[in-house]
């Protein structure tokens, strides 16, 4: 069954279906109940599933994640909403020292099948702490998996897969794209931890995830006019990365550009560049280039268009790989 949904509505539908299918699934977070979340991603769920399953919590992120660990030990499958990216840090200890390590340290005896939903990234004109891209902090943490959706279809499918998975998963939602619409096939099946070629091309490879997938695709469209045929990947799974298809592409194109909003220094792009260089050393015509946020704190809203990678900066990097 296919219908046209926004990313936000697709997430809502996915959460609803997860709640329906498994009575152990819980949703918890600040304002997720009566309000339906500040982005309305959980809209209507408390009304239909009750306060016992869709829980408005006290205002404390460490409490949200820490109690979710306990609920998971008890057999529940909590889906925690962190209201904005910049507010996940009070829970950082629980996430990196508890959630990430529990299965390993118990030698598999204790599972904490949790999903930590984070609307992430900038571009919405917000005040500080509302536009962060914290994915590297989680991807560097062994024991966590990290995924990012970029389309309504993935929003719908991936959120259900993440909830069904026994792995603890940080689930990143491209908040500036919540309102973008697309077809959703509610019966589609495909693997969660796989990257996807979203545009075939021959001249250079462009990698993106979350909100930057659209930017990369727009850049590819623009490049077409200049006679350049870009291949674009939506990475989808940020930890573990699924780079085999990317290696295959870079071996063909010899050029690669990575796009993300997070600062460059020790970001995902660095890992991907290092891995591609290891695997495609003799195929590279130019070093893998990164188009990212700058190594500054996220700036005031009226500077964010300068801070964030856009079509022009992507094309500029592609140009540079050709000029090497």
């Amino acid at each position: 069954m296919a219908e046209k949904l926004t990313i936000g509505k697709a997430l809502n539908a996915g959460l609803r279906r997860a709640l329906e299918q498994d009575p152990k699934v819980l949703i918890m977070g600040e304002d997720v109940g009566k309000l339906g979340g500040v982005f309305r991603i959980t809209d209507g769920l408390q009304k239909d599933f009750g306060e016992d399953r869709v829980i408005d919590t006290p205002l404390a992120e460490s409490g949200i994640i820490g109690t979710a660990v306990g609920l998971a030990i008890r057999g529940y499958r909590p889906v925690c909403e962190i209201q904005f990216d910049g507010f996940v840090y009070p829970a950082y200890d629980q996430i990196v020292s508890q959630v990430a390590k529990m299965h390993f340290r118990s030698q598999g005896k204790v599972k904490v099948p949790m999903v930590i939903r984070i609307p992430f990234g900038g571009g919405i004109g917000a005040v500080e702490h509302h536009s962060e891209s914290p994915e590297a902090y989680f991807a560097h943490t062994a024991g966590l998996k990290v995924v990012a959706c970029s389309s309504p279809q993935d929003a719908y499918t991936m959120i259900q897969q993440a909830i069904a998975s026994d792995d603890p998963i940080v689930f990143l939602e491209p908040k500036r794209r919540y309102h973008e619409k697309g077809e959703v096939d509610t019966e589609a099946t495909y693997p969660l931890h796989a990257s996807r070629r979203v545009r075939p091309g021959t001249d250079a490879t462009v990698l993106a995830y979350g909100p930057m997938v659209r930017t990369a695709l727009d850049a590819a469209t623009a490049a077409q006019e200049d006679g350049r045929d870009l291949e674009v990947f939506d990475l989808r799974t940020l930890s573990p990365l699924d780079l085999e298809p990317v290696f295959e592409s870079v071996r063909r194109t010899g050029r690669c550009v990575i796009v993300h909003e997070a600062p460059s220094n020790v970001g995902l792009g660095a890992e991907i560049a290092a891995r591609i260089t290891e695997e495609c050393f003799y195929s590279l015509e130019a070093p893998v280039l990164r188009v990212t946020g700058f190594d500054t704190p996220y700036p005031a809203a009226r500077l964010e268009e300068d801070y964030l990678p856009d079509l022009d900066r992507v094309l500029d990097a592609v140009d540079r790989t050709f000029g090497w």
Binding site: E30, D31, G33, K34, L35, G36, V38, D56, T57, P58, L59, A60, S62, G63, G86, F87, Y89, P90, G125, A126, V127, E128, H129, H130, S264, N265, F294, D295, T296, P297, P299, A300, A301, R302, L303, E304, D306, Y307, D312, R313, D316
Partner: protein, 385 residues
């Protein structure tokens, strides 16, 4: 939770129409003065201001509300990215803000526009944050008001550390002692940081007043989601006094805050004040409160408006006449008008300022990025791009 006429459910049951015994109130919603009021800390509070001072408080309240309304309008018109209105909380902010002495330091959240006004901060300055032009425009050292803090509760530890510094500097113990006031909301009381701040302040006997504006909501969540008992009682478990004040009563708020600050500056350690008030508007301009609260509740609180009661009082007591009221309205209008004009005239920051002030001592990495971005921007110069 039923919200009674005086809005003061306290230790026992709330008695409708009567302030609970430990709810400090010095001015009723009808504008009647209460001579003395005993707080949960056992202290009897009273106040005696000059007519000039009463008029000053009225003026503050009216101007602040008007400026706030202007900011809300500016946001609606797309001139601000977002606005966090203080509507309904004017008395809590003016009462506490005016209770500060010049040497005191304030640590606000993101809603303390009224406190800033009382500290002499040009109202344009917080607006640049909400317009998206910068992230903090005033000099905390100059005005003795720290920057706004958006991460809930984080500033309570900063305030505590600052207060510890006052003690280290030997600036407690006399009338010229310094004190800190730290603002936060009812929701914030659930954060670990806030509770750690209570612990540190208690252990180090810091000269600090924790001023909690319980406006009954943390975005959509009513106070019951954060606590089962009145918030001011949180202090009991940490070993310092806590009390509840009618946060819509500027006189009571002024009285309790002044006393608590003076206690702190004299070396008597921290106090928790719960200013019991109500957020009359939305959480911010992006919020829709009709999704989670009923109109009748808002109306009930309308009857306890913090400005109406002062106006009733100053009129009844003939402290102010119609001319004064009109003059204040006119002043508020003019200030709002100027504010609007200045917001519209506010220049956008230059792109390259993005790279400024990342580090006091700079960084070659940032410098290189600035340089490269400058070249990149230049490359578009003259192009049709």
């Amino acid at each position: 939770m039923a919200k009674g006429d005086r809005g003061a459910p306290a230790r026992g049951k709330e008695v409708a129409g009567e302030p609970a015994p430990d709810f400090v109130q010095l001015l009723t919603p009808d504008g009647e003065r209460i001579d003395k009021s005993v707080g949960a800390d056992g202290v009897e509070y009273t106040i005696d201001l000059t007519d000039e001072e009463y008029r000053g408080l009225y003026r503050d309240l009216v101007v602040i509300r008007r400026l706030d309304a202007e900011a809300t309008a500016l946001q609606r018109q797309g001139e601000l990215g977002i606005w966090a209105s203080l509507l309904g909380q004017e008395a809590a902010q003016v009462g506490s803000g005016r209770a500060l002495r010049p040497q005191d330091m304030a640590f606000p959240t993101y809603r303390e526009h009224g406190v800033l006004y009382c500290r002499g901060i040009d109202p344009i300055l917080p607006l640049s944050l909400y317009r998206g032009v910068d992230q903090g425009a005033w000099d905390p050292a100059e005005f003795k008001v720290n920057m706004y803090t958006i991460v809930i509760g984080a500033q309570t530890l900063h305030a505590t550390g600052y207060a510890m510094g006052i003690t280290k500097d030997g600036k407690v113990g006399g009338d010229d002692g310094e004190a800190v006031i730290c603002y936060f909301g009812d929701g914030a009381t659930s954060q670990g940081d806030v509770n750690e701040a209570f612990i540190w302040s208690s252990v180090f006997h810091a000269p600090i007043v924790f001023f909690c504006q319980n406006n009954q909501y943390a975005i959509s969540e009513p106070i019951e989601k954060q606590t089962r008992i009145p918030l001011y009682r949180r202090a009991d478990g940490f070993g310092f006094p806590g009390l509840r004040v009618d946060g819509n009563d500027v006189l009571a708020t002024y009285a309790v805050t002044r006393t608590a600050l003076d206690n702190a500056r004299h070396g008597q350690g921290p106090t928790l004040i719960e200013a019991y008030t109500y957020r009359m508007g939305a959480h911010t301009t992006t919020d829709d409160p009709t999704r989670y609260r009923v109109a009748s509740e808002v109306e009930e609180w309308q009857a306890r408006d913090p400005i109406a009661r002062v106006r009733a009082f100053v009129e009844k007591q003939q402290i102010a006449d119609a001319a004064f009221i009109a003059e204040v309205d006119e002043q508020a209008k003019q200030e709002a008008l100027q504010l609007r004009e200045r917001v519209l005239a506010m220049p956008d920051p230059h792109p390259l300022t993005l790279f400024d002030h990342v580090y006091p001592n700079g960084s070659p990495v940032v410098d290189a990025q600035r340089e490269r971005y400058a070249e990149y921007l230049d490359s578009f110069e003259g192009s049709a791009h």
